[in-house]
């Protein structure tokens, strides 16, 4: 996936509360990555962090999903400017 040099890429667990990012890569366990994609948490989906650093609470596609720390670490997102959603 192409990315602009200005856009910061960071794991979901480090995304600040209230910030929105675009998922660019899911690393780690293959079958878990698949489940994330099947739940609409796949590459190119927009994710808004609601809260949490250890356990992340996010908004994707109108649903609230909780990911534990190891799961959130495996999702790389591209930070979008505020109001991008």
């Amino acid at each position: 996936m192409s990315r602009s040099p200005f856009n910061l890429r960071l794991p979901l667990c480090q995304l600040a509360a209230g910030a929105t990012g675009r998922i660019c890569e899911i690393t780690g366990d293959e079958s878990f990555a698949q489940r994330l994609r099947e739940m609409g948490f796949g590459e190119a989906a927009l994710v808004t962090k609601i809260s949490g650093t250890t356990t992340s609470l996010c908004h994707v596609n109108g649903t609230r999903l909780a990911l534990n720390h190891d799961a959130a670490k495996s999702v790389l997102v591209e930070l979008l400017p505020l109001g991008a959603r």
Binding site: Q34, L36, E38, M39, G40, T55, N68, S74
Partner: protein, 715 residues
Amino acid sequence: MTLPPHISLPGKKRVAGPDRSPVYAMVGNPNCGKTTLFNALTGLRQKVGNYPGVTIEKKIGEAFSQHGRPMKVIDLPGAYSLAARSPDEAVLRDVLLGRRTDTPQPDRIICVVDASNLERNLYLAHQILDLGRPVIVVLNMMDVAHAAGHRIDPKKLEESLGVPVIPCEAIRGKGLVELRLAMSRAELPLARHRWDVPAPIAPAVADLQASLVQNDNRPPLVARAEALLLLTDFDTVRVAGSTPLSDRTHEILAHWRQRWEGEGTDWSATLIRSRYDAINRLCADVIRRTGAQGPSLSDRIDAALVHSLWGWLFFGAVMATLFFSIFTLAEYPMNWIDAHMAALSSWVKGAMSAGDLRDLLTDGVIAGVGGIVVFLPQILILFFFVGLLESTGYMARAAFLMDRPMSKVGLHGKSFIPLLGSYACAIPGIMATRTIENAKDRLVTILVAPLMSCSARLPVYLLMIATLLPSTAVPTTTKAAIMLLMYALGTLGAFGFAWLFKRTLFQSAPPLMIMELPPYQRPHLREILRQMIERGWLFLKNAGTIILGISIVLWFLTAYPKNPDPAATPDAKIAYSLAGRAGKILEPAIKPLGFDWRIGIGLVTSFAAREVFVSSTAVVFNVQHFAGGKRAEVTPLRAALRAATWPDGAALFTPLVCFTLMVYYVFAMQCMSTVAIVKRETNSWRWPLFQIAYMTGTAWILCFILYQTGRALGF
């Protein structure tokens, strides 16, 4: 009902013959309202929950068509995808693919989708439509979608998919008539072609499909769907009862995997993406979104309830209320039941002439079953709370909050719910582990769940605290503190062993969790009560069958063989009986813990259920007092225990022994029903036996250290 013009009937029709009622399978994502719809359709008693995946057992109900003909409906577990990741989802997949021998392959499928989250819900629906069976799509929660600003056009969706689409609000019973009408149709159309498999993957799908038709006897359409599934699933999650695939199909699968891995193609991601692309195109056509949406009510509630401070305070308050209710509110009905059991027992004693039959009824049946039934109020209260937490959607939040502490011992938030349930009884707790996807995490949770102090230990703690501390001199807070200490010990033990197991026996990568937090809902009291009664009834049925049987056997063991000397004291009679002999055989093993053979009888009988300890010590110790011949003077059990001595005259129940005995009950595995349920859930005798060994072993070692150190220190 006539067919809408856009729905064309395929050449091959699936007609439900007049001789046999059609079998419907009900499928959908967790939290889509599937179970509510199932209840509304069939009226069958069944559980409704908000926590993902509560509906686990295979539930079959009967509905009636417009013409009064019966139709079977199977309620299948909620799932996000046919590519199974948990035992629940594997059951769903296997039933739909006709891989299970114990369930007929459904003729027709009712696919329930949550209209407020159409894209994600259509993913499963899309896979279901691939199966080539007649499908009815139910657009549930239309009101929620409307409130969120989604205007969905069911007619357009129907045109695009080619199958009947019924808008519905199951909770209010809206759309049920239309659904029943659609179900009553003799013929249902098959879905039209909706998406193309991405070109690089198509040859593999064709290959696998051909092999499934040839080597696994699948009909061509099912074979295609299964081939697609194998490419995202690899058939990893297998459950007992499903037929394995042929070797040839496995070979072909391995061949394609190898080839793609060499090329660096991420075929599974490609497949999922292309399916979502098709769904997004479809949704763009049928959904109109009105205006920008601010944070929903659920978002605003969550801002407080999963907050790092307020969230924990609220959680603490919920837990405190739960325990307060279980231990104080339940007392009134429990006393009432106790009193009535005692009255019944003395009535039987008065009405019947003395003899074995009377003793069997009073000491065996009434004492045994009564001892269990008395816990019904606590169990009902716990189930009420669990139902309330699930029905409002808070349970998932509690699991979310607990994820952090649980991660310290290598588990994740989903393991919290089974452990919470185990405070009442390990059985529902262990059954609740079925939503944990990772097999190792699930097993660890099952292994440690019985360490949480269940309500059956409560009477033992209460008796020991009462014996330990003279009632008037000691403030109630001290007693409560000892009680709390026991609960804390059990909880710490559970976490400690989870930590240990995750580092030794069940080493695995750190657990990964994704969990949906459903929108908050007003609790449906009727559903909660229905669930409470259903579970309470199951508990009573258990008490009326298994525990009744055990009580009779136990009575027999304490009564036979009869002491040949008719003038023998009751004490001597017990010592002569099989139970007495067993206790004596056991004595050398438990003497280092400060227990004698009479306590040994209590420990053995506790295998029926822990609270039986109280009734069996009542039999063993109270009767000694009668030996003096003063029948009218029945010493309360507590006083009898305080008076009990070793043969050399030393007091038996010293404070140290009381304390040691409580610690023994915290850790020892002494519940046959739990052993049976662990056997069923793990499908082997290995784990329940391991559980008995490690728990009872720990109990013995800890008590040995405690008692011997205590003795050395002069207690």
